[in-house]
Amino acid sequence: MTQIFAYIPFKNGSAEDVALEFPAAAGKIDPTADLTAVVTGAGPDLDAVAQEMAKTYKEVIKISHADLAYPNAELVRKAMTDVLPHDAVILVPHDTFGMDLAPGLSVKMDAAYAADIVDFEGLDGTTLKMIRQELGGAVYTHVTSDISAGAVITIRPGSFAPIEAGSAGGTVNDKSGEVKDLAAKRKFLEVVEAEVGDVDITKSDVLVSIGRGIEDEENIELAQELAEAMGAVVSCSRPIVDAKWLEKSRQVGTSGQTVKPKVYMAMGISGSFQHLGGVKGNPFIIAVNKNPKAPIFQVADVGIVEDILEFMPELTEAIKSQ
């Protein structure tokens, strides 16, 4: 029988949303599999999460160590390699921690690796069929992994419908004693909070959000004029911040701000999951993109195939003349 372990990330004693998505993912891998939650950390926060998880998971493995108080991927990897069976399937979220942990974990477990999985199509013998995206979401692929010697799989947060938190009394197994040496060549120092900018895009009901399609710094004016005419605020995708055309506080996405506007205008944005991960609250999304196949059109409510550099000034004029 397949044994599946899910690594549960948490903050301040409460598990992240993905904790309730793992059971749905595991069910799609093998509905008969044994699913166990794994929590690592230290102190009361860890105990709180272990108890919370025991409501949903029949078994919870707890690994407690003072050095794990902050999730340093190198240490978590060592702890998991010591405690978990090497032929198991290990699920990890595809987020900044999962990207730090999972590839190396698969090497140390001598297991297959599959990254950023958005769906599973089931197990045939020891061959697991999965779905993922490539090229920023422009295409999908089926991939298979031979899981006979175990697998480490990162799943994309938000891709599996969360189950209801249960009330079953699962057991918490403290396996801290099985951890051997936690010496590491990487030491966590501190977290430096992102700078706060002069505009708070999270407060705006309407966002005119620009992506790489804006092409040039000078063209940002076109978005500003449109936003002004609409009483909206300008936000952007990551490449605009990387190019230093707008400040970081205007960036929407997993490594930027989470916004919940009523209306979101995606202008020249392709629609990567890291960008869309910051667009919450089910806004009315309008996408303008010159590529009719842009992935953003799959999630937008209204789509327009136009060149934003020509379209935005015309829209601005039309709104002004109303």
Binding site: D95, T96, V107, Y113, T141, R186, A194, E310
Partner: protein, 262 residues
């Protein structure tokens, strides 16, 4: 500091509209425009800046085919000192671990203090750097957006985590780092720069040169395989507004008014 930067030749997402081939199982690759993976340009720029400050040299390496040589030349035009192409029929069909194992063999032939990769490439896996580090038993940090020298044996790195916060770590050399975009502003490479390195010799190494057992890489060694490409049926998607630009704008303004956008 001796720095190795791993780079990958990828289809350029900004230049291509991706279509499936007539059989519907692969990309239509006939007219694809390729370039260096976006993240790798940041890694090469960072390496060049470090060497400008503390001395040493930058080597760029890729696992690929004959055509991958062009991306090495481009990075050498940016300022990398050396390029190495790892190419062999036996590498065909490698999964991420296969690529990492091939890179490891090359790394063990040299003496590098710092190995940089991009945070992710076209396939979006973000796997090669972390695997390589684990195979070498070097420490690893992913999504690095800041590097500061501490002393000969240690550096301080910032990792960009959720919300744009920065996780600071001290890490011992030699180490592997995956570089996130935005860490620097990669320099522009003009035609003249490319011309200057057009005739520089780029060694090509195969499985034999690297001492790699062909059964451990390529298709034979791959536990994870891509089966096909497809476009899923995701329902209707967006309501597409059509007509002349004036008509589209008129319809859009109606919708904006209805939804509170105006």
């Amino acid at each position: 500091m001796e720095i190795l930067v791993c780079v990958k030749r990828v289809p350029d997402t900004a230049e291509n509209e991706f279509e499936l081939n007539s059989a519907g199982n692969d990309l239509d690759r006939d007219d694809l425009v390729y370039s260096v993976n976006e993240w790798d340009n940041y890694a090469v720029e960072e390496a060049i800046q470090i060497v400008d400050n503390v001395g040493g040299s930058v080597t760029v390496v890729t696992v690929g085919d004959d055509e991958s040589e062009e991306v090495l030349r481009r990075e050498m035009a940016m300022g990398a000192n050396n390029g190495v192409l790892l190419s062999d029929d036996a590498f065909e069909g490698s999964d991420g671990k296969g690529i990492a194992a091939i890179l490891k063999a090359e790394i063990e032939k040299g003496r590098y203090d710092l190995i940089l990769t991009g945070a992710q490439a076209d396939e979006g896996a973000g796997q090669v750097g972390g695997m390589l580090a684990a195979m070498l038993d070097y420490p690893y940090a992913s999504l690095v957006n800041k590097i500061e020298a501490v002393d000969d044996a240690t550096i301080k790195v910032g990792r960009e985590i959720e919300g744009g916060n920065q996780e600071m770590n001290e890490i011992q050399l030699p180490c592997v780092l995956s570089i996130q975009t935005g860490i620097n502003e990669p320099r522009y490479v003009g035609i003249r720069g490319i011309r200057k390195v057009a005739s520089v010799d780029i060694p090509v190494k195969g499985a034999g040169d690297l001492g790699i057992d062909a059964a451990t890489v390529g298709d034979a060694g791959a536990k994870t395989k891509r089966v096909d490409y497809f476009v899923p049926d995701l329902g209707e998607g967006a309501e597409m507004l059509e007509g002349s630009t004036d008509e589209i704008i008129e319809k859009l303004i109606e919708k904006l008014k209805a939804k509170g956008g105006l």
